[in-house]
């Protein structure tokens, strides 16, 4: 029994495992269940996140690719666009249709032609350049805006801790 979603996820998995983009690794946690993925994202160079490796999990709906997956960091992530519980708030992960935030243009939102690879690349660039228009973590956003050195220090501390240093 192979649904459209499973087939497509497998396609994406294969493409990602053969030809992964720089700094990104992703795949199903277990090949029996293609709807739960784990991804590792490297902290982009030149940002306080540099050197860190950030694990995240992606959960796909059964009607993928009509609807986007959800993404959640499974590590500490002090970032304006990541909720304190790790859930990533980025427009590419927001389903088409009603815009709960009324600020995203439709072209940035999820569409079936997007892919896991594009999500992860977007998240990587989001890590490098937070969007403080719609902070998911208000405190982090404020710190990023007003006390940048403190923000960077905190992020670096998180990175070091995640590496066990």
């Amino acid at each position: 029994m192979n649904s459209v979603a499973a087939k497509r996820l497998f396609q994406e998995y294969k493409a990602l495992s053969v030809d992964p983009p720089d700094g990104i690794t992703a795949g199903p946690v277990n090949e029996d269940d293609l709807f739960l993925w784990e991804a590792l994202i490297q902290g982009p160079e030149g940002t306080p996140f540099e050197g860190g490796v950030f694990p995240a999990e992606l959960k796909f709906p059964r009607d993928y690719p009509l609807m986007p997956p959800t993404m959640k960091f499974t590590c500490d992530m002090w970032h304006p666009n990541v909720y304190p519980n790790g859930v990533v708030c980025i427009s590419i992960l927001h389903p088409p249709g009603d815009d709960p935030n009324h600020y995203e243009s439709a072209s940035e939102r999820w569409s079936p032609i997007q892919s896991v690879e594009k999500i992860l690349i977007s998240v990587m660039s989001m890590i490098a350049e937070p969007n403080d228009e719609s902070p998911a973590n208000v405190d982090a956003a404020r710190m990023w805006r007003e006390q940048r050195p403190q923000y960077e220090a905190r992020v670096k501390a998180d990175v070091r801790r995640s590496l066990g240093l």
Partner: protein, 542 residues
């Protein structure tokens, strides 16, 4: 993994001398299903997708997935040329890939540079060979395609002006008759020409009318060389106007299952319409039995028979869904949501928050219940501190301190690190017992409650337990972080952030200091009703 699925993929080419084919193959993939186009259709905005893919997509949001222009399924047109390219490429692919891989092996075997050149030469031979094999298969598939391709011809003959040219070269038969000057091909006596002209015009008009109609209704059908079954496309219904019984009857009429709630019936009918119409587009129409099989796959993966993992909707859509038991089981959650909503109403500036995914409550009902039932103040959430004068006074103290303008931010920022890691595992320990999908690598950022554990009073420990236990389900399920329904219970993770903001008296300062950012998300059990009422607007409502 390849053996299990054996999905041909563009990356197959990457490690061969023909790696340029990877891009070619990608170009022949539908962007929605990421597979080779199956019955490619062009949208009004000139994008191409598989028939089934674009139909499903359009029925869900009515926009082209590529450019988001509004479009309708009945405006899709077949892209026959692309269809042929794909068919041809797929036929040629295994041979070409085999040759490419062989070439790669030969390229890798001799490690010396000198040999490499030879291999490269071989390689180009192989390419030529591959080309040749492609050419033969192409001509083969041409033949196949030609048999399917009779389709455009009837249309061309119908309304092209070339007709006259086609007829003229033939010497008119010498039978004393004249040909219709309008070119309908009829021959008649000279005297009949004028009466014929009138009729001929009418006939022509009629003919052209029926011809222009044909492509709309049966474009794909006429293309099928083998069996031109009278497949007519069906339309989605005006579901919202239909009574459930009428809808049921419709489902029966088209011959698909009619069980389930109206919602499920609607979804099923839409899916069927898409499957059916995509089949009409195809030049290899399949039998209805096969289509029903497709629908069955849908039913088991996304429809009414899908597993529970599908989420709340599929569960409550089930025919035998026990509403009473469900509402009883989640009574606590519901009352909580209601209280939450009331509180929000009195505090409209509250920020949207990640809802606690309802799925959790279904999958791990015990998990979400436990914390609530162990919470001693369940029945008296609104005034949890009433019988705790110690706590109350401590809260008052803090509030007063804050009112004097003492900043607490540094305290919070320094304090969180050390205790957070030590206290939390212990706290989340109990929730582990409920077997959540995820390991607890998922520690939240800086759990502030745990700091307060150390710094404040017994009240905080109790608060903390309350907050960290429901955290369990949130590990497993990442709820959609934006939800249009503002009333949903916040994720328990979010309650941590709640503590950061308002739950602890320490933090109230943030709001006082920065009034532009009004307080949000106040957990009702943590809010002292009276003492801080003047600070936290949210209290008034609860």
């Amino acid at each position: 993994m390849d053996s299990a699925y054996d999905v041909p993929d563009s990356t197959d080419w990457l490690n061969t001398p023909l790696n340029g084919f990877s891009e070619l193959e990608n170009a022949l993939h539908c962007q929605i299903c990421k597979e080779f186009y199956d019955t490619p259709m062009i949208t009004s905005c000139n994008h191409t997708f598989c028939s089934k893919c674009i139909r499903t997509s359009l029925s869900s949001d009515g926009k082209c997935p590529a450019c988001r222009t509004s479009d309708q399924a009945n405006k899709l047109r077949n892209n026959w040329a692309l269809q042929e390219v794909v068919t041809t490429f797929v036929t040629a692919r295994p041979a070409a890939l085999g040759v490419a891989r062989q070439a790669q092996e030969e390229l890798e075997a001799p490690k010396r540079v000198g040999k490499r050149k030879r291999a490269a030469v071989l390689d180009s031979d192989d390419i030529a060979e591959a080309e040749a094999s492609r050419r033969t298969t192409r001509s083969k598939s041409r033949r196949i395609a030609a048999s399917q391709e009779s389709q455009p011809e009837p249309i061309e003959i119908a309304d092209s002006d070339d007709e006259d040219e086609e007829y003229r070269p033939q010497p008119p038969p010498d039978d004393g008759l004249v040909e219709c000057p309008l070119g309908c091909g009829k021959r008649m006596k000279e005297v009949d020409v004028f009466t014929h002209l009138d009729r001929c015009e009418d006939e022509k008009k009629q003919a052209s009318r029926s011809k222009t109609k044909a492509p709309l209704n049966g474009f794909g059908r006429s293309a099928s060389g083998q069996n031109a079954r009278p497949h007519d496309r069906i339309n989605e219904l005006n579901y919202s106007m239909m009574k459930e019984l009428a809808l049921k009857k419709k489902l029966k009429d088209v011959g698909i299952p009619d069980w389930g709630s109206k919602q499920l019936q609607i979804q099923r009918h839409k899916e069927w319409v898409n499957i059916w119409n995509a089949n009409c587009d195809s030049n290899h129409p399949r039998s209805k039995r096969e289509l029903l099989h497709d629908l069955d796959v849908w039913e088991r993966t996304q429809g009414g028979r899908a597993s529970n993992a599908n989420g709340l909707s599929s569960t409550i859509m089930k025919k035998d869904f026990d509403r009473d038991a469900y509402s009883k089981r989640h009574e606590d959650d519901f009352s909580r949501l209601i209280a939450d909503a009331k509180r929000k109403k009195s505090n409209p500036a509250a920020e949207p928050k990640p809802p606690k995914d309802e799925e959790d409550t279904i999958q791990q009902p015990t998990a979400s219940e436990t914390p609530i039932s162990t919470e001693p103040t369940t029945n008296d959430r609104t005034k949890p501190y009433e019988d705790n004068p110690e706590a109350l006074s401590s809260v008052r103290e803090k509030v007063e301190a804050l009112n004097r303008g003492e900043s607490i931010e540094p305290v919070m920022n320094e304090g969180f690190k050390a205790p957070a890691t030590e206290v939390l595992p212990m706290d989340t320990g109990p929730s582990d017992a409920h077997d959540f999908a995820l390991p607890h690598a998922t520690q939240p950022i800086a759990d502030p409650p745990s700091i307060f554990n150390a710094t404040t009073n017994p009240l905080d420990t109790h608060e903390d337990r309350n907050a960290s236990q429901p955290a369990g389900p949130a590990h497993g399920e990442a709820g959609p972080e934006k939800d249009p329904i503002p009333l949903r219970r916040p994720s328990s993770r979010d309650e941590h952030s709640t503590h950061e903001h308002t739950g602890s008296p320490c933090d109230l300062a943030t709001h006082i200091a920065d009034t532009s950012d009004p307080p949000r998300k106040v957990p009702m059990f943590a809010v002292p009703a009276q003492p801080v009422g003047d600070i936290d607007g949210g209290v008034a409502g609860s």
